[in-house]
Symmetry: C3
Subunit: 185 residues, 3 copies
Amino acid sequence: MGTIIIAGIPGAGKTTVIGKAREEVSVKFVNYGDLMFEAARSRGDVTNRDEIRSLPLDLQKAIQIDAAEKIERMGKVVVDTHCTIKTPKGFLPGLPVWVLERIKPEVIVLVEAYPSEIVERRAKDQTRIREKVAFKEIEEHQLMNRISAMSYAVLTGATVKIISNHNHSLMECVRDLVRIIEKGD
Amino acid sequence: MGTIIIAGIPGAGKTTVIGKAREEVSVKFVNYGDLMFEAARSRGDVTNRDEIRSLPLDLQKAIQIDAAEKIERMGKVVVDTHCTIKTPKGFLPGLPVWVLERIKPEVIVLVEAYPSEIVERRAKDQTRIREKVAFKEIEEHQLMNRISAMSYAVLTGATVKIISNHNHSLMECVRDLVRIIEKGD
Amino acid sequence: MGTIIIAGIPGAGKTTVIGKAREEVSVKFVNYGDLMFEAARSRGDVTNRDEIRSLPLDLQKAIQIDAAEKIERMGKVVVDTHCTIKTPKGFLPGLPVWVLERIKPEVIVLVEAYPSEIVERRAKDQTRIREKVAFKEIEEHQLMNRISAMSYAVLTGATVKIISNHNHSLMECVRDLVRIIEKGD
């Protein structure tokens, strides 16, 4: 069994699901953003994470590749990352082709929830933009994640597994993830 | 005119539509799953179809390539296959890039129907999971098929043609398919 | 900042938005269809635009590449084009991989509107097919555009920016586009 990617938009509950799953499996989890930051810092390019996005595109690409090669050398691992990142310039693919061909994922897991649930979860953190706009934007972001995940799959042969993390069903979602990690089906 | 791919989820009526279309055109139809099984059996890897999915991934890839090369040598042909296969590990792309670059499709035809129609057609075969879940899952699978088809198109330049096989309009659907096969438009 | 692609289906208002944006920025705009026609005509392949689609596929591909290489040599430019073209054979990707690897877009902007708005705008031009069919087809085409745009992004690392051009909010849409062109965010 190869590398597993886990992604989900803010409020889908990815971090909670991963936290619970780690209690049940022995496989290593890594955060792709952390690895990118490490790679960028050790190259002397940045001193904090937010600076990465301001670097020239060629340099960002080199950092992405450094981090991907590190994952490649790890063997079986679960990578916590983003399918697409919502930026002011639009949806940025988290795993462009030069990252994919190094990570070679076997399964891409998307943690999803209903837009209404995500609006509600986000509202607990802070006061937010109008609910109706938020709802539409969440639908849009989850769609763009499905699309990019399936695109990644076509290029790598990975499967795309959608697991639902609805209110009051966290443990079912965790069980689905653990099953994928442990048995590969 | 090059190779035409036809795909559709269970219950969309792909087999019926293909059966009717074959009565009207002279072009050769092949089933990609059959060709994969033949390739696997002649390599001595399996004795029945279901064993293919349990083989190591590298071997599955070699079998996919064998079958795709066979199609490549056939000239104009209609390939009956799946855009994505729903597995316990998620949606598996039926035509990953190493298959696409050999088959080089010119048109990818998706046979679709309303989720309500597909639920109903499937129910005729067997008692099934709750209708509401089924409805959502069918919508999801048809979406993942559209996404993978369009991804295939970007890599090959093929067109993606959606033809609707709604209740009581089978012959319109067949006519659409025949038109694509015969005239290329 | 690199090349920006702008696409949108008929009735989304792409041309109007581009017209307004050009009044505010100094960057060069080109139309990909025009460049393809120029390339085809100077090769002696066609005398009018409509002939291009009837040429053998290899020749169409060569013309697409000629036009893409011209854009490549232009430096920063905004390219007015289509994500997918709706043809009788299905949705044709406007930017297949051999075009993408030359244009190397940095942002892909999709101009969208509600299907109801697009139906209404199209109706002003001519009498049209039944509204309900049109609505469904518009939704489908906008979805296929999002899918192809995200596929393009995975292959190039571009972002996909959706900007809404709703009735009575043209200037907000123009402002969004100008911001992307000028500042890259």
